[in-house]
């Protein structure tokens, strides 16, 4: 079988090169891996993305948080990276494994003895010193290994070029108990990963290192540990 089959042009990128592209993207633009509210990330920079705190009544300035993602390691069908039994890598799909750290700024709040007034927070930060039952605030983090499976979507890059994006279909985190908590965390990371990876739009031009013009007709497809495309000049 020819590479081009019935089309005039063929291009493919192996998963190792796709991972190089993802590493390049996240290395040059690390802010797509780090998101946090102002006490963690005061302003958006190349390194981090500043987001609002989670507003909650009685918590001054809201709940402060940070999510730090590792660079995902992508495996294109056929499977190379073992997956938890809950996930299956089917033809046409990719899997990804990455580490995620979720941090909260855990604060002790003091009850304001004055009568509550509409529109004001009823609590303030506890000003007690270190001899109190909890410190004034403490950054509490957990690290998780996350697995995901998904498929490719044909999108447009910011340059107007044809591009691909990685669309997440399912997420699995191993060994969180109880199961309901695992489901909640998985749901949270499912949404986060979908949003993050949707921003990583890799131009088809880059997937063929700029070689030969290609107007896509077939693909992009995931086959044989590669993304393949066929088309016209």
């Amino acid at each position: 079988m020819s590479l081009t089959e019935t089309e005039a042009v063929f291009a493919s990128i192996h998963e190792t090169a796709l991972n190089d592209l993802l590493t390049a993207f996240f290395t040059d633009r690390p802010r797509y891996l780090v998101y946090g509210s102002p006490s963690f990330v005061p302003a958006t920079t190349v390194a981090e993305t500043s987001m609002p705190a989670i507003p909650f009544p009685g918590v001054p300035d809201g709940i402060q948080w940070r999510v730090t993602l590792g660079i995902p390691k992508v495996d294109l069908y056929k499977p190379t990276i073992p997956l938890p039994p809950e996930l299956t890598l089917n033809p046409g799909q990719f899997s990804a494994r990455l580490d995620v750290e979720i941090c909260l700024n855990c604060r002790r709040l003091k009850i304001d003895p004055r009568p509550p007034r509409p529109g004001t927070a009823g609590r303030k930060d506890d000003k007690r010193g270190k001899d109190g039952p909890q410190p004034l605030s403490k950054v509490t983090c957990c690290k998780l290994s996350v697995f995901a499976v998904g498929h490719l979507e044909h999108v447009m890059a910011i340059t107007g070029e044809d591009a691909i994006a990685l669309a997440v279909d399912a997420v699995e985190i191993v060994d969180i108990q109880p199961d309901e908590l695992e489901s909640v965390v998985e749901c949270l990371l499912f949404m986060i990963l979908q949003a993050v990876l949707a921003e990583v739009r890799l131009p088809l031009r880059a997937l063929r290192a700029g070689a030969f013009e290609l107007i896509p007709v077939v693909g992009p497809l995931i086959e044989d540990d590669q993304i393949k495309m066929r088309g016209n000049v």
Binding site: A17, R31, V46, P203, F212
Partner: protein, 267 residues
């Protein structure tokens, strides 16, 4: 296994070469060459048009009927005295009564040196074999198709036509020469005879052949530091990868011959 593969079938390669050849800067040259016994100054411009591409494993691209359209301006000086016989008006004496014999002096024509300018356009077709050449120079990857051997260019009919054009160009120049009348046809014949087909072929060959024999057609050119995405804001700088290795070959896959370019990259 290569990390990135890009392949073209012969139809695709034909289109790639159509564009690559059409995008080439016009060819041109000027100088002087031997036109038979004469030294002729010339300037020439030429353009190429792709023919039919045949991919031949492992690394040959054959272009059948590659067409070179060329336009030549040449001029050469000719001392008519060197080709025409000496021509003198003889002395004439007349007996005049009461005066005696009066004679005119013998007048010999001093044949001038003339310059013959010729403009001529034609085309030729050739079948050329090109070999893939890969280079990394100054941080720039290039894959080019380079002519493998000097093709045998046929100048016979062209030479005859150019010789006729020289004759046609010489005639009005000669007509302006005093006393040339009886010698006009002879002068043209002599000029054409001493240049001859061989002279024209010997003139055209060294001028036109380099346009084909030195042909380099760009198939791929990319910076080794390849820009995946441009910078779009202060917090979104450009994204680059490095192209570490580039290879190119012609492969026979299935029933097709394909031009295959491979690359390995790193972040």
């Amino acid at each position: 296994m290569p990390e990135i593969i890009a392949a073209l079938d012969e139809k695709g390669a034909n289109k790639l070469l159509d564009k690559a050849i059409a995008d080439m800067d016009p060819l041109g040259d000027s100088g002087s060459g031997n036109l038979g016994p004469f030294v002729a100054g010339y300037s020439i411009t030429a353009t190429l048009t792709n023919g039919d591409v045949d991919l031949i494993p492992p690394d040959t691209i054959r272009i059948v009927d590659l067409r070179l359209d060329w336009s030549l301006d040449l001029s050469f000086g000719l001392d008519l005295g060197s080709i025409l016989p000496e021509f003198c008006l003889p002395q004439v004496c007349v007996d005049i009564p009461c005066v005696g014999t009066v004679c005119t002096p013998e007048i010999c024509v001093d044949w001038p040196t003339i310059t013959i300018p010729v403009s001529f356009s034609d085309y030729l077709k050739a079948t050329v074999d090109l070999q893939l050449a890969i280079s990394l120079v100054g941080g720039q990857w290039k894959v080019e198709a380079v002519v493998l051997a000097v093709p045998n260019l046929q100048f016979g009919p062209t030479s005859a036509a150019l010789l006729a054009a020289i004759g046609a160009a010489a005639t009005p120049i000669l007509l302006a020469v005093p006393f040339i009348g009886p010698f006009l046809a002879m002068a043209v014949d002599i000029i054409l005879a001493i240049i001859a087909i061989a002279g024209v072929t010997g003139f055209l060959g060294p001028i036109i052949t380099p346009f084909i024999s030195g042909l380099r057609i760009g198939l791929y050119e990319q910076s080794q530091v390849f820009e995946v995405l441009p910078a779009t804001s202060p917090v979104d700088p450009k994204v680059d990868i490095v192209i570490d290795v580039v290879k190119a070959e012609v492969q026979h896959n299935g029933l097709e011959d394909e031009l295959v370019l491979t690359a390995d990259i790193s972040a």
